[in-house]
């Protein structure tokens, strides 16, 4: 059988920068090929080039050939994408190639109903009457597993959850039965139970003969869906082969690093528990009539990590904010070293705040945009009584080197640093006042998998060196397994399960925990 999509020696350059170099692969009908790589590896550029969307500044060479068995619909006739006219490309896109973009949560027009959005491609590419189109939209929504399709078709994107929006995007991508579906990070930013549903949906499409090109940084997702894997780094294919072969017996050192960096491969070995540093008793927080955190209690001992897992809206971030005394609980209280914390007024807290630090998911927005790394860290080292601080250069250099950065970053603004470097600066700022506790709210969720592993190793080293206690908030079960000694599983503001991390992973008691664990695409299974 000939391949549906055949990419040969594809190179894409932007000016002097080679984004993609000499990439070749085939996708037969009904197969899924995954391109795996980290930010800047050229995987998204490859996908966009196949759609003829590389952009005006790009120089494309090589061949992208669409062919395949004549099914119903117009013949692809070995169309050469790199030579195709803009008109021909427009006809290809939507009808023959469907695209599920990375920013699925913003890919839908907020002012139009989901149904109209999906009907668009039907209106452009078919002669269906409005009534037939409406009928087809409902069928499509049904086929992507959208509950109550008739109701949903009339809703706007902001009325849908992230998972339902992603389903709507996929419905619009498959509206015309494309023979090739390009999915660029289709499950990034989705919770794990929702990810599982989307992956099942894509697998179903593949069974029915759609070829899928999956772009992902997540090896676990890839292992579930793809039969072939192409590993890219710096625009070059470093390894390719069947999924089994590449993941089980990686040949290239980079692939091996990528696989080793996937969190959850090994369990956390913690230090013995010390005295409690944070104690929360019956903490409840309401926003209006919604109960964000409902009667949560926990004890965080010195030198240990308490993981808090849950999906979006489970109340885990509110719990972090309560622990930092950024919100006042409506009932219950949190104590720090046995002293009242949330119950005392802010002016009593301010002096004790340096003992409990925080790092955030979005490190960049937690830095004053006017300040350089030197000023930020100098402020954090200073007493806070004076503007500017009085940290010595030697202290600053020691601090940045402790988090694995070079002294040259001191003069720069955080916005010009990479995501991993930004998070390292945030960690340096958090440890500068020598805290006892650090509240980590999704600290590695925005990072590439190998950078993620480095940051987690750094946090682990700091914990051992300074005897830090972490309250570690994450939606990623692999990450939490790797870092935490004990675990709270939250759902709708309530702790549904708690215990030693390994015990929870080995024998989950609550149905929700079991569902969460079952939904994780497990590379290690």
């Amino acid at each position: 059988m000939t391949a549906l999509l055949s990419v040969r020696n594809l190179s894409v350059t932007f000016g002097a920068v080679a984004a993609v170099h000499d990439v070749s692969f085939d996708i037969p009908a009904g197969a899924c090929v995954a391109i795996v790589g980290e930010s800047g590896s050229g995987k998204s550029v490859t996908a966009r080039t196949i759609l003829g969307l590389a952009g005006r500044d790009a120089t494309v060479s090589g061949s992208i050939n669409l062919d395949g068995p004549d099914l119903d619909g117009p013949d692809l006739d070995g169309t050469e994408v790199t030579d195709a006219s803009p008109r021909r490309l427009r006809a290809l896109r939507g009808r023959d190639i469907g695209f599920v973009s990375q920013g699925a949560l913003v890919a839908l027009d907020p002012l139009r109903t989901v149904g109209r959005e999906i009907a668009d491609s039907l209106r452009i590419h078919t002669n269906l009457s409005p009534r037939q189109r409406q009928q087809r939209v409902i069928e499509l929504l049904e086929s992507v597993g959208m509950p109550e399709p008739t109701l949903r078709a009339g809703q706007r994107p902001d009325e849908l959850s992230g998972g339902l929006r992603q389903r709507a995007v996929i419905a619009s991508a498959i509206a015309l039965n494309p023979r090739l579906l390009i999915a660029d990070e289709p499950t990034t930013a989705l919770d794990s139970t929702i990810t599982a549903g989307i992956l099942d949906l894509l697998a179903g499409l593949r069974e029915r003969g759609t070829a899928i090109l999956l772009i992902s940084h997540d090896l676990a997702v890839v292992s579930r869906l793809a039969s072939h894997v192409v590993v890219m780094r710096d625009g070059v294919v470093v390894e390719s082969g069947s999924t089994q072969q590449v993941l089980r017996e990686p040949q290239h050192p980079y692939t091996r690093d990528l696989i080793a960096a996937v969190p959850g491969g090994h369990a956390h070995v913690g230090s013995p528990a010390g005295d409690p540093v944070v104690t929360a008793v019956g903490v409840t927080k309401r926003f209006g009539s919604r109960v964000a955190v409902d009667d949560v209690s926990y004890v965080l001992p010195r030198g240990r990590t308490l993981g808090v897992v849950g999906e979006s809206g489970s109340g885990k971030t509110t719990l972090a904010r309560l622990t930092l005394a950024l919100e006042r609980p409506d009932a219950g209280a949190i104590e720090l070293f046995g002293q009242p914390w949330t119950a005392s007024p802010e002016r009593d807290r301010t002096a004790r705040r340096p003992r409990i630090g925080a790092i955030y998911q979005d490190a960049l927005s937690s830095f004053d945009p006017r300040l350089t790394v030197r000023q930020i860290l100098s402020d954090a080292l200073g007493s806070g009584a004076t503007v500017g601080g009085r940290a010595t250069e030697a202290e600053l250099v020691t601090l940045v080197e402790r988090v694995g950065l070079k002294a040259t970053v001191l003069a720069r603004h955080p916005r010009v640093l990479s995501g991993g470097q930004q998070q390292r600066v945030a960690i340096a700022r958090a440890i500068a006042p020598r805290p006892d506790i650090i509240v980590c709210d999704e600290p590695v969720s925005n990072l590439d998998v190998s950078v993620q592993a480095q940051v987690l190793t750094l946090l682990d080293g700091l914990q051992r060196e300074f005897g830090l206690s972490y309250l570690f908030i994450t939606h990623d079960l692999g990450v939490v397994r790797q870092v935490s000694d004990e675990l709270l599983v939250m759902k709708d503001g309530v702790v549904v399960e708690r215990g030693a991390t390994e015990a929870v992973f080995a024998a989950p008691q609550h149905p929700y925990t079991r569902a969460l664990l079952a939904a994780v695409p497990d590379l290690w299974a």
């Binding site: 950024l326 004790r352 630090g357 955030y360 979005d362 830095f367 945009p369 806070g384 006042p433």
Partner: protein
């Protein structure tokens, strides 16, 4: 050289105009050594020529010399009025943005009432009460522009106040005073600077309008608005008496506005 090429031409031209007007305001004798008030009855109403590039007025005073010497007064009025407006606006904006809710409510309602008045009408009302003159017209223009600025500053304060980096500073145990002085004020001030440059041009136009109505500086003072007012009688026969002061008002306002825009783009990028 590379840096120069990234600056928009409009900004370069604006800077050149403002430099010229700045020199005129600080050291008028460098550009026009004559006396702006010297009368030459024999040389009245001379059209623009090499000797008198902008012509002469009804008393034979050189219009060019008067414009150069009037720059100081006009620009000073513009800057002072903007400073008064922004000064008040900073107080109101910070009070509303940082104070307790009742204070925000009170301040905002007051500003809305003031905002409902057209600015120039408000300035006229102030002059009616306190009498005409350079000082009162300057204060009047400052007062009239304050509500608009206050609103902008208040909304900036509200945005910056909730920024994650302010919260991060709180988590580090920084006092409220530190958070306001180190993070909030500088980040609000960035946009203030742009507002100020945009505002000076407007203030000069307004102050000139008041002078033209005879409520600010009065002839024979070499203030641009007053010169316009003085030349009003002769507008149909001797165009240069009103054209050149008007041109300089427009140039100054346009140059400061363009510069403000340029800075705004830069701040945003």
């Amino acid at each position: 050289m590379k840096r120069l090429s990234t600056v928009a031409p409009s900004v370069v031209v604006s800077l050149a105009i403002l430099l010229f007007i700045g020199i005129a305001a600080v050291a008028p004798n460098l550009l026009a050594p004559g006396n702006p008030l010297a009368i030459h009855p024999t040389a009245s109403f001379l059209p623009p020529s090499l000797g008198h590039p902008f012509g002469t007025d009804e008393s034979g005073r050189d219009v060019y010399t008067r414009i150069i010497h009037g720059a100081g007064a006009s620009v000073l009025i513009g800057i002072t009025a903007t400073a008064i407006g922004l000064g008040l606006a900073i107080v109101f904006g910070l009070l509303a943005g940082l104070g307790p809710r009742w204070l925000d409510f009170g301040t905002t309602r007051l500003l809305e009432v003031l905002f409902a008045f057209p600015g120039l009408l408000f300035a006229l009302l102030f002059i009616v009460i306190y009498g005409p003159g350079v000082l009162t017209s300057t204060i009047a223009v400052g007062l009239a522009t304050a509500p608009g600025y206050s609103r902008i500053i208040r909304s900036r304060v509200l945005v910056v106040k909730r920024a994650p980096y302010i919260e991060a500073s709180l988590v580090l145990g920084r006092s409220r005073f530190f958070r306001v002085t180190r993070h909030l004020v500088p980040n609000v001030a960035g946009s203030l600077f742009v507002l100020a440059t945009l505002g000076i041009g407007q203030s000069i136009v307004w102050a000139s309008s008041l002078s033209y109505l005879g409520l600010g500086a009065v002839p024979p003072a070499a203030e641009w608005g007053a010169m316009l007012s003085g030349g009003r009688t002769y507008i149909s026969s001797f165009w240069w008496l009103t054209f050149f002061p008007g041109l300089f008002i427009v140039l100054t306002a346009a140059a400061t506005t363009l510069l403000g825009r340029g800075l705004h783009e830069r701040v945003r990028s």
